[in-house]
């Protein structure tokens, strides 16, 4: 054990304490939402729920279970996340592969077109008018027209560039063409990068709200985030519509829906978090 001087000890103690508090604060709302969702009406409304639930009852989740439009939106979000992520990965991986190749004609020019998208955008009105003219008002429109991010393409490109030329040449001698190279060599060799980019794309699909709300016409196609927001917006009128004698507060319903939306993120998070720290640093976007 290295002996610490007094000043070092105090410094260490304070920093560790502050960091711990910050991290707990980051996690607190998740716990609070769960506690608030299962606490009793009186306990919740009199402010007795601070961290742990009181008068526990899972009745609100029975109501959630029966909320058909919630589950429709949940399944919609799964659909958008799975197909949307696959689409985004397809565009990004093929593009990154081509952009990583030195022999590509006008390579610098194409790379610039991708990097430029990180620094400029047309703005809300031209984007909206374009989506409307292109009929992006349904499921497939949302999947196809969104989700590709320049940052992720550049990240994949730098991974692909780092793969040794010798491996590629050896495969070529064995008769591999570009498609074989991409699917059998480059993708398997960049699992960490693919995992990172998948995480980024999947969370942004899972969380996307604004354009889905602006563009989707059919209420049966709305994703969970939009459903949840509409619920929160009608928060105050919920009091009037809810029967007075419920054993839980109407807040509990909102918190329960928030919990439903957080749980899938919490489930995949531990599996993927070891990848993204590396990915973020690799992105160190430099053209």
């Amino acid at each position: 054990m290295i002996r610490l001087s007094r000043s070092e000890f105090i410094f260490k103690f304070i920093t560790i304490l502050l960091v711990t508090i910050f991290s707990l604060l980051a996690f607190y709302p998740v716990i609070y939402s769960f506690s608030a969702s299962i606490s009793g009406k009186i306990a919740y409304e009199s402010g007795q729920v601070v961290l742990f639930p009181k008068d526990i009852s899972f009745q609100v989740y029975e109501l959630i279970y029966q909320d058909k439009s919630l589950w429709i939106s949940f399944i919609n979000t799964l659909f958008y996340t799975i197909f949307g992520t696959a689409w985004s990965i397809f565009i990004s991986a093929t593009g990154a592969y081509a952009l990583a190749k030195r022999r590509l004609l006008f390579r610098r020019w194409f790379n610039f077109l991708v990097v430029f998208t990180m620094w400029f955008n047309a703005g809300m009105v031209p984007l909206y008018l374009n989506y409307v003219t292109m009929n992006v008002d349904n499921r497939w429109g949302i999947i196809v027209a969104f989700g590709v991010q320049g940052f992720n393409i550049i990240l994949l490109r730098s991974f692909f560039e780092a793969i040794p030329k010798e491996i590629e040449e050896a495969a070529r001698i064995d008769g591999a063409n570009e498609f074989d190279l991409l699917t059998k060599i480059f993708l398997p060799m960049s699992k960490a990068a693919i995992a990172t980019v998948t995480l980024f794309y999947a969370t942004s699909r899972w969380n996307s709200y604004f354009w889905s709300r602006m563009l989707l016409k059919d209420p049966n196609e709305l994703p969970l985030q939009v459903y949840m927001r509409i619920l929160i917006e009608n928060y105050e009128s919920m009091f009037e519509n809810m029967p007075i004698d419920l054993p839980y507060s109407s807040d509990s319903y909102i918190f329960a829906v928030l919990v439903v939306s957080i749980i899938p993120v919490l489930i995949i998070y531990p599996y993927l978090q070891r990848y993204f720290a590396r990915g973020v640093n690799l992105g160190g976007v430099k053209e």
């Binding site: 592969y97 004609l105 703005g123 809300m124």
Partner: protein, 318 residues
């Protein structure tokens, strides 16, 4: 242009291209995607110079030159426009003052934890809010700060208990509280995640430097001053450049989800102004003018910041 391949100078490059068609086939999806969903809307910015009629479309609407831009900065909506401009700027200044240093401090603090298991746990916890949606985060904020007749949110209650606000204060309806609420929400959601980049920078500093300072009898503050911060400098400069380039953009989704008619005074930013005037009220040309204004200044900020950073140090984005 030193990276150009020989093929580009070869007059017979068409043949080379044909032989290599698979590579270009792989490039095609991304090019098409950006053409359709990114560059085509940029051409649509033309309506900033037109009197846009939805039934005529972008190309056939009448050309009016700078009329929209003039009326934007000095017409019916000028008051709202400049208010949005000011709010965008003010929110970003606060974001820079408070939001920028915290991830750096957090990263340095993380690096002080020598127990890697414990460090991983606190780091992982601190990243989590980044992955939650804006709807979830703002839903939480709105419920926790709610102050109504029937219920009071936990944080509102806490602030009342400490006497920081009185019983009748409705934080979410009060323009005075919008900006602090917005900035704190942002720090809570993103500070942990943003610290990743700085953490990597701190961990990249050679331990020999720390040893040397220790031998010379340096204390903790001197260590920060002479080793840690200089070691992080390249990263800090890049991140400041990135941040300044973003000075005219505010996470509009979060604003839309947190603001309401009572808080427009401090909450309305350029993108929410565009949303209300350009899309909801149907003044598309006016909205596009504001978009153009916003994007151009934003782009100039990126270029300017990058230029400065290249002049004062070796770090630059391109």
């Amino acid at each position: 242009m030193k990276n150009k391949s020989d093929a580009e100078h070869n007059p017979r490059y068409i043949r080379t291209l044909l032989a290599d068609y698979r590579l270009y086939l792989l490039l095609l999806p991304v090019v098409l995607w950006y053409a359709l969903w990114f560059y085509k809307p940029i051409a649509g910015l033309l309506i900033a110079f037109k009197s846009y009629q939805p039934n005529l479309g972008v190309m056939d609407s009448d050309f009016v030159g700078f009329a929209n831009i003039v009326s934007l900065v000095d017409g019916n909506f000028a008051g709202q426009f400049w208010r949005a401009f000011r709010n965008t700027f003010v929110i970003n200044i606060y974001g820079l003052l408070f939001g920028f240093p915290i991830p750096i401090l957090l990263a340095i603090a993380f690096s002080e934890i020598r127990n890697t298991v414990y460090r991983n746990v606190v780091q992982t916890l601190s990243y989590l809010p980044h992955f939650l949606s804006e709807v979830t985060i703002t839903g939480l904020v709105l419920t926790l700060l709610y102050n109504g007749e029937v219920t009071t949110g936990a944080i509102s209650q806490l602030l009342m208990d400490f006497g920081l606000i009185d019983e009748s204060t409705r934080i979410i309806q009060n323009a005075d509280y919008f900006q602090p609420m917005f900035i704190i929400t942002g720090i809570w959601k993103e500070a942990g995640y943003s610290s990743i980049v700085y953490f990597a920078a701190v961990m990249g500093i050679s331990p020999i430097l720390y040893e040397a300072l220790k031998v010379d009898g340096g204390n903790k503050l001197q260590e920060l001053r002479y080793v840690t911060l200089p070691g992080m400098a390249p990263t800090l400069i890049i991140m400041i450049v990135l941040r300044i380039g973003q000075m005219l953009s505010v996470g509009y989704e979060r604003v839309i989800l947190l603001y309401n008619a009572n808080t427009y005074e401090t909450a309305d930013v350029l993108s929410t102004f565009v949303l209300r005037i350009g899309l909801e009220a149907g003044n598309q040309s006016m909205g596009a003018s504001a978009d153009l204004f916003n994007s151009l200044i934003g782009f100039m900020l990126v270029i300017g910041a990058n230029f400065i950073s290249r002049e004062i140090s070796d770090s630059s984005l391109w």
